[in-house]
Symmetry: C2
Subunit: 309 residues, 2 copies
């Protein structure tokens, strides 16, 4: 299968080398010039617990894409998804399958706007990875993917995507309710990303404080209300059980969530696609979500104070 | 008039030297050992724009108070008020006037519990001061006081307190509605103290960001609802006008509010007597105040993360 990864950050790069290793033709599409150049000149440097290795993978800037792909895996940050789609729209056809694995709410709606005749798949993944620098990632641990056709053109293509991902040992399966999984993950991230970024702490520090569960519930209860209005069977227990699990110092206790890293590195956060997405839906549905409203405003305020544009 | 200042931090010390300068007998009552010793041994060092001077003032620890006073000005932090009152309760009589100038909501109720036969006055002041170290303050700028009898024993005492304060050039006047002023100041502080402490910024940085007025309104509207239920004629405009004024970089723009300093110096904040007081009242009155609720929990969480007890 001729595959492109649109948004070759840490996660996109990880998927890229695993698919390359499985014998597939992979192209990275990414707007970071230095990253693209380094990969083309020296290959992608992948560190694992077993050592390090270089992968020869071709990379292009989004405004340089020319050829078409059978599968385009979208792995941009949520706020870069629309920009990416605009730039690659010219190569999308009825023979293209788009699989979005970006975090956050609202990605499917964005893709539907730009997909034209292409098939659409959406998924969530528990794989993780770190970008060490241009052309250089550190890939440890394991994960899985669940995905589901949102607009299927051909059931055979769905099966082919599943097989391709599993040839690359990405532990994929077809989900029956990917929207629920996307909401679960978004609610989880809207608790841990947002509080850890705002309070400048790691997951364990947040979790070991007295207000942690009350603060978590305040976010999650509003997610549940909005999900319910949208016919998504999210429950607070589903989210809070996973939140509580990572509070354990032996689990992800010393982990600083990505939004904390964004603030530390003065990058714009994904708040509008997490807590902020629920705020917008709340306004449209006339359901008050004051907690997520305030947290979204506080995070934007933090970005403003740090002059993050 | 024989005067004690209970809680001789920055503000208490400033009042102390100004009253001493006006010829009154002043005693500091304060639990900070080093501060008390320094003042007794070397006097209170006061820096002003005109230079520095030492004032001979006697100071005692709260558990060492023996003699009685005609006027005790209470200037502790709100959370230390009850502890102070317990320790000085033995010297309170019907000949004592208590004047509380501590910031925050709930102070009058606390004093009423411990005052016994003593007269009670409550006030607010716009004087400010900085504590540079034990026995050492920096006093710049000007201010005023408004105060009002809450439990008056003798109108002549009220007049005497007014005169004493004005002999010390403290610009005092009798208020007709000190509760409104206390609420105005508490709402103002619940905006600026809380947001600047949470977002780690000064007043100007907070004020110049896009969400500043929306975030301010969210706090103030809830204060107004609770005040209304308590028969206090607070309006949002009253508070927001003063908030907006200090956003001006030429006003207090570069000022870090006291709660920001508390967090920076790992001291417990006054949150429970600002936003948190409104949360408690909201619970009692069954009026939801989600914004102040979340801000109070976030500040407690911040204290927990920094291991502030």
């Amino acid at each position: 299968m001729k595959i492109a990864i649109a948004g070759a950050g840490a996660m996109g790069s990880r998927f890229g080398f695993m698919l390359t290793e499985a014998g597939h033709s992979v192209t990275f599409i990414d707007p970071w010039n230095e990253h693209v150049e380094k990969i083309n000149q020296e290959g992608l440097l992948v560190e694992t617990d077993a050592g390090s290795r270089k992968y020869k993978i071709s990379a292009v800037l989004p405004d340089q894409v020319g050829s078409s792909y059978e599968l385009i895996i979208l792995f941009t940050k949520a706020m870069q998804l629309e920009g990416m789609l605009k730039q690659i729209q010219s190569i999308l056809s009825e023979d293209t399958a788009l699989l979005v694995l970006s975090n956050g709410l609202g990605n499917i709606e964005t893709i539907e706007e730009y997909a034209g005749q292409s098939a659409i798949y959406a998924g969530v993944t528990l794989w993780s990875c770190e970008l060490e620098g241009p052309g250089h990632i550190r890939a440890t641990g394991s994960g899985n993917i669940e995905f589901q056709p949102i607009k299927e053109k051909d059931a055979a293509v769905t099966t082919e995507i599943l097989n391709v991902l599993n040839q690359a040992k990405l532990n994929a399966e077809i989900s029956q309710n990917v929207l629920l999984s996307i909401w679960k993950k978004a609610a989880f991230n809207s608790v841990l990303n947002t509080y850890c970024a705002l309070l400048d702490c790691n997951v364990g520090q947040f979790g070991s404080s007295n207000q942690a569960m009350a603060l978590s519930k305040a976010v999650v209860y509003e997610f549940v209300q909005i999900a319910e209005a949208k016919g998504i069977a999210l429950t607070a227990e589903m989210v809070l059980a996973t939140v509580e699990k990572v509070f354990d110092p032996d689990q992800s206790g010393d982990h600083f969530p990505s939004m904390h890293q964004d603030i530390a590195k003065r990058r714009k956060t994904e708040i509008d696609y997490l807590n902020g997405a629920v705020v917008k839906m709340g306004e449209a549905l006339n359901i008050p979500v004051p907690v997520n409203h305030l947290l979204t405003a506080l995070m934007h305020e933090k970005e403003d104070i740090l002059k993050i544009k």
